[in-house]
Symmetry: C2
Subunit: 228 residues, 2 copies
């Protein structure tokens, strides 16, 4: 049974792909570029898709204008917002928020899913570390599933596409442990928001990754520009 | 006040753009290609956007795999399904259905809308002539509006993007009359599903167009391969 898996090449989406495999799905991966600086992730996504036996992998690019107000796609440096032990305030939306990203990603994934007869769409959304993103909340994901059921032929025929977010309640350490247990080669994943040859070790995403490995009592197998 | 208008270059979306202008919006047009055969529409979309004073026009292309099960994107000829006086059966979904198209289109439009501070997204969906498309129903559009409010920063801050479908209850004749009254140069629009230099006059879309002009007691200003 096919499932579409949204795959960025980071730890979360790679682990999500492993979960889909573990649950018996035949995973078809969808990687969406949107002018982000971390196009280095794409190479990771290709490696991970091969490594975890995806039967198809579509890589598509969205025009940069669509998401033009996020610091992830704007020119200039990624602001350093908080250290690894700081926590976003309740209701605060990080400046790395990309307008409606998961709405777009899930919509594209559902269209492809219906086209190829997939029964589920997997997304590595987590509401724990980045609780400020509105499109990573269960409330949004459930609403999206209802809307997609109304939009699609298979939804109106009583077999709507399921939206699966298996990591939703997990923090980074738990995700890293799960990925490790499911045999994900975490050396292939990429998290850094900056586009260097090595991870910067300082951006939010590196901070969460390093903190997660530390809490999981595992060594991060990738290389950093400077040791933290 | 800005609004994003989904513009294909056909009569419906062109009239919708004119409605947005008429209601005082500053329209920013979004044209989405998805491997369809009627790429001739793109030239119409550009002409219409200029003609009706759009302040921006983004044209983007989606990978053809996404919608690969529709006769609009598959190789081979467009099936001729019904004549101009035939009506789709209740609940029947035409084979020109593109999986989740409006879900994808509206999601992309909402992301862009939030990026540029637009307050509304206009779509030329109509549930009358093509009543078989699940993603042209009011029920879907209302559900989408709620989901988009949950997905976006401005939605969570209490100012969700409005989804406007001003043609939803109108048949083709009424839409043509409205476009005519609002000053849309209908000679710039393109409806034919086939990609020829002139409209074929035989596909579903040409049939609905010709029937609409006839019922509106107006002359269709475009040229057809053969006179019907």
């Amino acid at each position: 049974m096919r499932a579409v898996v949204l795959l960025s090449g980071g730890i979360d989406s790679s682990t999500t792909l492993a979960v889909a495999r573990y649950r018996g799905y035949d995973p078809c991966c969808l990687t969406i570029l949107y002018g982000q600086k971390h196009s280095r992730e794409i190479e990771s996504a290709k490696s991970i898709a091969r490594h975890l036996g995806a039967s198809d992998h579509v890589i598509m690019e969205l025009p940069v204008q669509l998401f033009s107000c996020s610091s992830l796609t704007m020119k200039g440096d990624i602001p350093q917002r908080m250290g690894p032990d700081e926590v976003p305030g309740e209701g605060a939306i990080p400046n790395t928020y990309v307008p409606g990203r998961n709405l777009v990603f899930l919509s594209l994934a559902c269209s492809w899913a219906e086209s190829i007869g997939a029964k589920a769409v997997f997304i590595g959304a987590t509401s724990v570390d980045y609780s400020g993103y509105p499109d990573c909340r269960r409330e949004f994901l459930e609403s999206f599933e209802r809307t997609a059921a109304l939009a699609t032929r298979i939804g109106t025929e009583g077999a709507p596409i399921r939206i699966e977010a298996p990591l939703l309640e997990m923090d980074k350490a738990a995700i890293i442990k799960l990925g490790y247990e499911l045999g994900v080669d975490l050396s292939l994943t990429w998290s850094c928001y900056r586009g260097g040859k090595k991870a910067c070790g300082r951006c939010d995403s590196c901070m969460y990754r390093l903190k997660g490995f530390k809490e999981a009592s595992l060594n991060d197998p990738i290389h950093y520009e400077e040791m933290i």
